[in-house]
């Protein structure tokens, strides 16, 4: 397996940065996901690691060896494309055995290896069919089989679930993660879907306009987003962010709501906030507690069922909407006033100027 290191890897088209200098190390057998909105540079980074895209500057090391200028075929990587990249005029079997033929293995070896990988991905029944007549899910399985059969040092995947329709996406997500656990291969995965990233990744690299916003485990980026972008991007809906002003332990929120800051955070807020005292209070929808004696007041904007749970949407005085997650029974008519509180250990604070999160070293 391969460890992959990126030293100051950078990509520029003319004067504009596609990827600003990026330094990180992907450990052996790790499942890394590059997550970000379209055009943030995540696919370009993946293509630089694969060699399909030339690096403007910086080096890429596989197991400590510099492969920056090596041709993709010399990097012993497998690349799974969003649109499967299957040769339409060949059957699934020919597609899977093709990379082995290119390496010059003999017929019987190829036959045996194709059979074992087909069993692993449960596609032995479609080996003799053409990709054109297969469902999206099956086509992606054939593409996975083609990359798996070569036992490459690393798997690179560019939004492999993007072209599938909803019913396949959920099951394929679990299958790919299961495959990773069985094979233990270093995998670099690119997606714009934050649910996929959370579900599959050991570590997530969140990018936005060519810059890495945060690198961390799913739990870290969910509970401790490093800035406003990560807070909004992760979670559906994203973190509630309300502007307020901090005065010794209390925050004035719009609609003359007062929020008492938990003691743990008080010293941090006293020190690090800008002189104006402006602060952004962040809390996940599940951190909202609707109770009669809640500190804050708002009016119900809408309430709807999400299946296993319900969502309440409150309109705060400045027009912004707060989302709260509640049990299934709760249903409020539009406009009813409501009081709520925030779970103390799930509240986060952000510096409005730097957009960075306040870090609270207990």
């Amino acid at each position: 397996m391969a460890t992959i290191e990126l030293h100051n890897v950078e990509k520029k088209f003319g004067e504009s940065f596609a990827v600003k200098p990026l330094n990180m190390k992907i450990n052996n057998g790790e499942f890394i996901v590059f997550l970000g909105p379209s055009g943030c540079g995540k696919t370009t980074t993946l293509r630089m690691i694969s060699g399909l895209e030339a690096v403007t500057s910086g080096n890429i090391l596989f197991n400590g060896r510099d492969v920056t200028w090596l041709h993709p075929s010399q990097r012993d990587i497998a690349f799974v494309f969003q649109f499967f990249a299957l040769y339409s005029h060949m059957t699934a079997r020919e597609n899977i055995s093709f990379p082995l033929q290119a390496q010059g293995l003999n017929k019987s070896d190829i036959k045996q290896q194709v059979a074992s990988v087909a069993k692993l991905l449960k596609i032995d029944h479609i080996l003799d069919m053409r990709p054109g007549s297969l469902s999206g899910g099956d086509q992606q399985r054939v593409a996975l089989a083609r990359s798996l059969v070569r036992k490459p040092a690393a798997f690179l995947m560019d939004e492999p679930l993007g072209a599938l329709d909803a019913e396949f996406r959920e099951s394929m997500r679990a299958e790919i993660k299961q495959l990773h656990i069985d094979q233990g291969a270093t995998t670099v995965y690119v997606t714009h879907d934050q649910v996929e990233a959370m579900a599959m990744a050991d570590r997530i690299v969140i990018m936005s306009n060519a810059v890495v916003q945060q690198i961390g485990s799913p739990a870290e980026v969910y509970h401790n987003p490093s800035n406003l972008f990560v807070a909004r991007f992760i979670g559906s809906p994203g973190m509630n962010l309300v502007n307020g002003e901090y005065r010794q332990g209390m925050i004035n929120l719009p609609g003359d709501n007062q929020y008492r800051v938990p003691d743990r955070w008080r010293s941090r807020l006293d020190k690090d906030l800008p002189s104006s005292g402006k602060v952004i209070v962040g809390f996940r929808p599940e951190a909202v507690r609707v109770t009669q004696e809640g500190q804050m007041r708002a009016n119900v904007y809408a309430s709807d069922l999400h299946g296993g749970y319900s969502m309440l949407h409150f309109e705060v005085a400045d027009g912004s909407i707060i989302h709260a997650r509640a049990g299934r029974g709760l249903d409020y008519a539009i406009g009813t006033p409501v009081r709520f509180d925030i779970e103390p250990d799930m509240v986060r604070f952000f510096n409005p100027e730097t957009e960075a999160a306040m870090v609270n070293r207990e």
């Binding site: 959370m198 739990a219 969910y222």
Partner: protein, 350 residues
């Protein structure tokens, strides 16, 4: 505003049947959602109501008055398309005014101006009025196309998957806004989507369609808690419902290839049934059942656990804060009264 009644509507394209004897009653001021996979006939239903498509059999009633013979223009419906609903070469103002300048309505210019600005204000697109539609973002375009429907205050709003081309974050916020707008305006709306979250969150009532057949009509709670068929059960709810094959053996149902068994819900349960268990009804931690944790998918607010019992793999949903070790033996319980039972052909046990 008015109510709509579809009576045994059948529509064929060549020899394929797009709509097979559909009868739906939509009440005044109701937000009614047509839910189904692509090709289920949802859009055809909208087009039949709007008069863009002529049904082979059955008739359409607006407030009890048969409108079969009316041309689209005379039915006074508003149609918000999935895309291409705005004329690219016109400004936002002209797009909004276009329906009012039609020969049918002949409204004076100052009246048009008043209503256009009013609609723009309601949809927060005042700042876009003079801009050419080609330069708008996806979200702005959809707001303008909804605005164009509002400005006419038609009898019925017909919306064909207006949110499906937008990115996830925009979809979430527009969903809430659209629901709020409909509730405050009280306009009869027929909304088509293939996204079950949109159906559950926005609808007063949902009709589930598949391959031209009407499977079930009911409130979001009916559809989620009492799905009429396995198709409806699997369509609604993420992660997907567990569907397990079970055989009846003297008073209890044993799930095939696993050690799980559940008491029969009623006396004359058929030999073989399909049991539906929602992931949130599988409660690990304590319980009479045993299973091995083979995979975890942390989603932040909650975590999906894949528990293997025998050969069957059950998915369960637990709060994000809970921590489990991969491969560990897990005890778990099943919410007995929230289980679903279906005949082998998918129809719910009555």
């Amino acid at each position: 505003m008015s109510d709509i009644r579809l009576e045994n509507i059948t529509k064929r394209f060549g020899d394929s049947v797009a709509l097979d004897d559909i009868s739906i009653q939509i009440k005044d001021r109701e937000f009614f959602v047509l839910l189904g996979p692509t090709g289920a006939g949802k859009t055809t239903t909208l087009r039949v109501i709007a008069g863009l498509e002529k049904q082979n059999k059955g008739s359409v009633y607006f407030d009890g008055q048969n409108v079969n013979s009316l041309m689209p223009a005379d039915r006074d419906t508003a149609f918000v398309f999935q895309q291409y609903s705005l004329y690219p070469s016109m400004s936002v103002y002209d797009n909004l005014a276009f329906p009012l300048r039609s020969p049918l309505r002949k409204t004076p210019e100052d009246e048009i101006r008043k209503r256009v600005l009013e609609a723009a204000e309601k949809l927060r697109i005042m700042h876009l009025i003079e801009r050419k539609t080609a330069k708008l973002s996806g979200g702005e375009m959809q707001r303008v196309s909804i605005g164009r429907a509002i400005v006419r205050n038609p009898r019925i709003f017909l919306m064909d998957e207006p949110l499906s081309n937008l990115d996830a974050k925009l979809r979430e916020s527009l969903r809430v806004e659209l629901k709020h707008l409909q509730k405050t305006q009280g306009s009869t709306t027929l909304f088509v989507t293939h996204d079950q979250i949109e159906a559950l969150t926005m609808a007063d009532r949902i009709a589930v369609l598949d391959a031209g057949k009407l499977l079930q009509i009911g409130t979001p709670h009916d559809i989620y808690d009492r799905p009429a068929t396995t198709f409806v059960a699997q369509l609604v709810g993420t992660p997907k419902i567990n569907l397990l094959n079970a055989r009846r053996e003297n008073g209890s149902l044993n799930i095939v290839q696993s050690t799980l068994s559940v008491p029969t819900p009623m006396n004359e349960t058929p030999e073989e049934v399909l049991i539906g268990i929602r992931p949130e009804d599988v409660k690990p931690g304590s319980g009479q059942y045993r299973g091995q944790l083979v995979l975890t998918e942390p989603l932040g607010v909650e975590t999906i656990l894949h528990i293997k019992s025998g050969e069957q793999i059950l998915t369960s949903v637990v709060p994000g804060t809970a921590t489990y070790r991969l491969g560990e033996e897990l005890p778990f319980a099943l919410e007995r009264e929230r289980l679903h039972f279906f005949h082998m052909d998918g129809v719910r046990l009555s």
